[in-house]
Symmetry: C2
Subunit: 655 residues, 2 copies
């Protein structure tokens, strides 16, 4: 096997984030989000649907009496929470939090069967149903999240209990599934186990987990179709009313073998979780056809099926992709989890080959959809992240039933909130990677990182003014002089970077630019200083003319931030605002707005309505415009001032 | 009672249509549509869902063995077909057709119960369920359609059998429903019985039918709510899975007493059928509060909730209205039946007071949505009439599941095809009305009409070049000299008419203009000739700025016809066409196109896509335009050349 990426991992413990923008988010996750979600998992948030996720484990463990409650994948909420706890503990010890986690882990361990099987839904509701409905019932999905939690928690604390549970569960799965005779030739409806097994493989070094991950990917989409076979074995019994999960194979990317898929189809989260697992397996095995499938689907997503906010999934039905260039702003699904999954996928592609596009998309999803998915109080969340909202219309027209104009406290299907928590808590692992003799900086987030390169221990300290200004300073601190390459990403939003080393501005040669990174190869001495200036201007963005939604419209981006208009700043009827793209935009930082935001003002017009009264249509009327100023705020900060209209794509005055 | 309208009815037998545009439609209905629908009702159209509607009657009549099949309102398809047959026979005898109809009527009569009850669904499926589920089960709706058929058929043929059946059924309903103790204080979920009873009242002169119609309207929306009461009496049993019909009162306009309703809510067809019945009752009773409610809801519909094509219903969910100014082109429901119902309503408002707006809307719905609902071969139909279609996207994005890019052969719920047939067959009754000493011309359709006015028998012969040119000529043929007013509608699409009488152009005074009609009051002599010229130009239409969909867009109208772009004439990606509204449009008649159509060419641009390749978003790129010509055809003729893109609202170049 040719390992494409093993040398590149930087673990969370190697990175300390110290950043004006992100440190408060990490504190929020530690101080508010994780405690709040603990309350939610224990059904102590008033006025929201109960979770009962902890209680399900207690009942399965024999510690309480009662019935299973919730979705068939309710267990995963506990696992994602534990994973986030693991990351927080990796960043900073917290005795109290660790005690709580240990107690939960004890319960989980007690809920595990003798043979390693662990799933409270099947234990409590369908004890004889184990592995009979992979298409619908998320058994391997839940197992995957438990494994991810275990790897994170054991890595942070050094404690083995949850990891042992995870290995025992993985072994149980390995006993049940595989190419050997008598084993099930199947795979889960919701991909997750694949990337989780790859984490377990890396944590334990045991090849069987790699083999099992690859098996699940190889089986997917084969004919005769496993979902049809298990459906027949169940005599057509289904868990959900809709037959989609069993019958519409593309819903779970099982319509074709994964290597033959050319376009991203079906449930968006499943697609990117699957691709993350595929990239993991390809990285370790050197499987070129698998890697090529990753590249093909990456390209399809980011060049034809992605919102400018880094969101994916154009349709509520099936939480799905639809077709190339179909990117409606108002009926968008754009699930928070899907953008998180896109970040997972991007991170893995970066590990295989650092190309700046992967980091660009990671940054786009992170700074827009992902943090937009959580309120600034850490207690309210978006599941769906539209690019256009009209609260009154959305409430009356059922095409928008999935769209909320304000963040919600919790969800019956609560996948997104803990997903945000685990991503932000582990943000340190997305900033850097190391490959051969090069240290890559993918994200400009203030932080310290320690790594080894050229047989030297190296510390790198990054100071960043992102996302509001493009000034970044690095202190390079090798233990002693070391020759290696520092590769700095040139973001797609600032193609002409300026770089100085120890105060000397350097001419960046074509040779130094490779795959979107500036490669600074030199003998680094302790205390060397690199300044990186990424000129940050307001950019008037256009959509590809094949996108119907964005024709005649413009959106604003400054640095990684996509901007939007809100009713709170611009009054209602945002569709009547027209931007003058030649006008001088002004950008300034508003300390007082939602904790401090860079805002942008742009000369604009508003379409007047005098002469219309109660007329619905008129002939040969001139459009009357009045001068106005369009005031933009970053998209991620929308809907923090009550329900109101919001728009990312604004009509543009033709030249 | 103050009768507001009795003098104004002109029966179908008084009018003979002779019109280049409409006569072929009437022939089509006679020669193709009605025979085709007879085949459909008898399940002889291959490749479509069977109707079984005739068979249901045969089984209920004891003539065949079997089970009820189809929707709970399947009977109404037979009635609407019979009604259309009645109108055809009023226009022209047809022994063969009459024999077929008589046979059906015999079967229907045999299916009627001793006590007058008649409904094959309840007879065959729920013999004990009569009148237990008004909210959902369309019993009175079906009765209404049977009554309408009976009035049409007896009026045409003089035969009593079906009218007797209808009276017996109406009497049975009158026994069951009413304010008297022991009778049901309820009303149907789908309005129809009200307007039907008013036809029966006019046909028979029996007050009880008027009282019953008024009773149903008066009961609607009262508290405690009848639908809740009957739901409880059924112990929560429902006919349809969704609880909408029982629980969402606005779905069937039962959320408020009808006189208190301020906005058109819920199922669009039900709204306009209800309003037609309300206008009928108000006309006869002089009930001012009922008439005011008609005016209020008319105004809400036509000034805030109607498509430019005269279509109504913005949302597939519930086939419903949504809210003011919510008029999406692509997800529109815009049911053919709803526009037909709007014409019914307009006709009744015209009878009460001839105001040109009512006729304008009637004409708009007729020339665009209604005839657009049927293919030019008379065998394919649209249920949904969108203003924008992207076949590839509509097939993949489930928000458009209700939208078809091509007309269908028949529907499981086949309400629209027979509704078009009965409307076109009875078109003669929409053209004229007479009130006091005035003869009104509402529609410019070539025809002869006979009526009495000023104690004289008068014949009026209309020659019209509509819809393609605005030249109309009237021959006035009173039996002998007669003083009366001829009132000619000034359509909203041509506000400066020119009129000559016997070759003398007249100056139209303000006094002569009233309620949108030019009133020509004079002593008319046999052979007087009136020329009316309505200059017909291409009009660039704008939507009210409060409509989000139409902002920055323009649509074309010429005379009553709304135009559209089709892929067949303009290539794909119609969203990339931009009209230059100052450009010189050219209109010409194309004999060879779909049986002959006036087409319009407009200078335009197409947005180019070079420099984009696989990029999805780019900064600071200029929109590159290339000159193009946008070729429009009338909306009603769309989708007759295979599946392709279509758009009514086109992007406009700002000045």
């Amino acid at each position: 096997m040719r390992n494409l990426s093993d040398s590149t991992a930087i673990s969370l413990k190697q990175v300390i984030i110290q950043d004006d923008f992100w440190s408060p988010y990490i504190s929020l996750v530690r101080d508010v989000v994780v405690p709040y979600q603990w309350e939610a998992l224990n059904d102590r948030i008033e006025g929201t649907e109960p979770s009962r996720a902890i209680r399900n484990f207690k009942i399965a463990a024999g510690l309480e009496q009662g019935e299973f409650y919730g979705m068939v994948f309710q267990d995963s909420d506990v696992s994602k929470w534990l994973e986030a706890v693991g990351y927080l503990l990796a960043l900073q010890p917290d005795r109290e939090l660790e005690n709580i986690a240990d107690e939960v882990i004890e319960i989980i361990a007690k809920a595990q069967h003798e043979d390693g099987y662990l799933n409270t839904y099947f234990t409590l509701k369908e004890p004889d149903g184990r592995w009979t409905n992979l298409a619908e019932c998320h058994e391997l999905y839940c197992a995957g999240h438990l494994i991810e939690a275990a790897v994170a928690y054991s890595s942070a604390t050094g404690k083995r209990l949850l990891l042992d549970v995870a290995c025992k569960l993985a072994d149980c799965i390995d006993e049940a599934f595989g190419p050997e005779e008598g084993k099930i030739k199947g795979y889960d409806g919701h991909q997750e186990i694949e990337l989780a097994l790859m984490k377990l493989y890396r944590a334990t070094g045991q090849d069987k987990y790699l083999r099992l991950a690859k098996f699940f990917l190889d089986e997917r989409g084969k004919l005769p179709h496993f979902y049809d076979e298990e459906y027949d074995r169940r005599d057509g019994a289904t868990h959900f009313k809709s037959l989609r999960m069993s019958k519409d194979k593309s819903y779970s990317q099982a319509h074709l073998p994964v290597r033959l898929q050319q376009t991203a189809e079906g449930h968006a989260v499943r697609v990117v979780y699957m691709l993350s697992g595929m990239a993991d397996v390809a990285a370790v095995t050197g499987d070129e056809s698998l890697l090529q499938a990753c590249r093909t689907l990456w390209h399809n997503i980011v060049s034809k099926r992605m919102y400018i906010t880094g969101a994916i999934g154009s349709m509520a039905h099936g939480e799905s992709f639809t077709l190339d260039y179909d990117l409606p702003s108002d009926t968008a699904y754009a699930e928070t989890c899907a953008s998180i999954g896109l970040i997972f996928f991007a991170q893995r592609m970066l590990r295989i080959r650092p190309i700046s596009e992967y980091a660009d998309i990671m940054e786009r999803a992170l700074y827009n959809t992902v943090i937009g998915g959580m309120s600034r109080d850490g207690k309210h969340f978006f599941y769906v992240n539209p690019l256009e909202v009209w609260p009154e219309g959305n409430a009356k027209n059922k095409n928008f039933e999935h769209v909320k104009a304000e963040r919600q406290r919790w969800f019956g299907c609560a996948c997104c909130p803990p997903n945000i928590a685990r991503l932000i808590a582990s943000l340190g692992s997305y900033i850097y990677s190391v490959k051969e003799n090069t240290a890559y900086v993918h994200l400009y987030i203030g932080s310290q990182v320690q790594f080894e390169l050229a047989d030297r221990k190296i510390q790198l300290v990054q100071h960043s003014e992102l996302p509001w200004e493009g000034n970044i300073r690095f202190e390079v601190l090798p233990q002693q002089a070391a020759r290696f390459t520092l590769a700095l990403r040139i973001p797609e939003w600032s193609k002409v970077p300026e770089i100085s080393v120890n105060g000397q501005w350097i001419e960046i040669s074509d040779e130094q630019r490779k795959d979107g990174y500036v490669h600074l190869d030199r003998e680094w001495l302790p205390g060397d200083i690199v300044h990186l200036v990424l000129p940050m201007t307001t950019r008037f963005m256009k959509g590809n003319p094949l996108i119907r939604e964005t024709i005649g419209k413009v959106s604003l981006q400054r640095g990684p931030m996509v901007y939007c208009l809100e009713e709170a700043d611009n009054g209602p009827h945002l569709h009547r605002m027209i931007i003058e793209p030649d006008g001088q935009s002004q950008s300034s930082f508003d300390d007082s707005l939602l904790g401090g935001l860079q805002t942008i003002s742009v000369p604009a017009y508003r379409i007047r309505d005098e002469g219309w009264k109660d007329k619905l249509y008129q002939a040969n009327v001139d459009v009357r415009l009045e001068p106005a100023t369009a005031r933009f705020i970053p998209y991620f900060a929308w809907a923090n001032r009550g329900a109101g209209e919001m728009r990312v794509w604004i009509s543009e005055k033709w030249h």
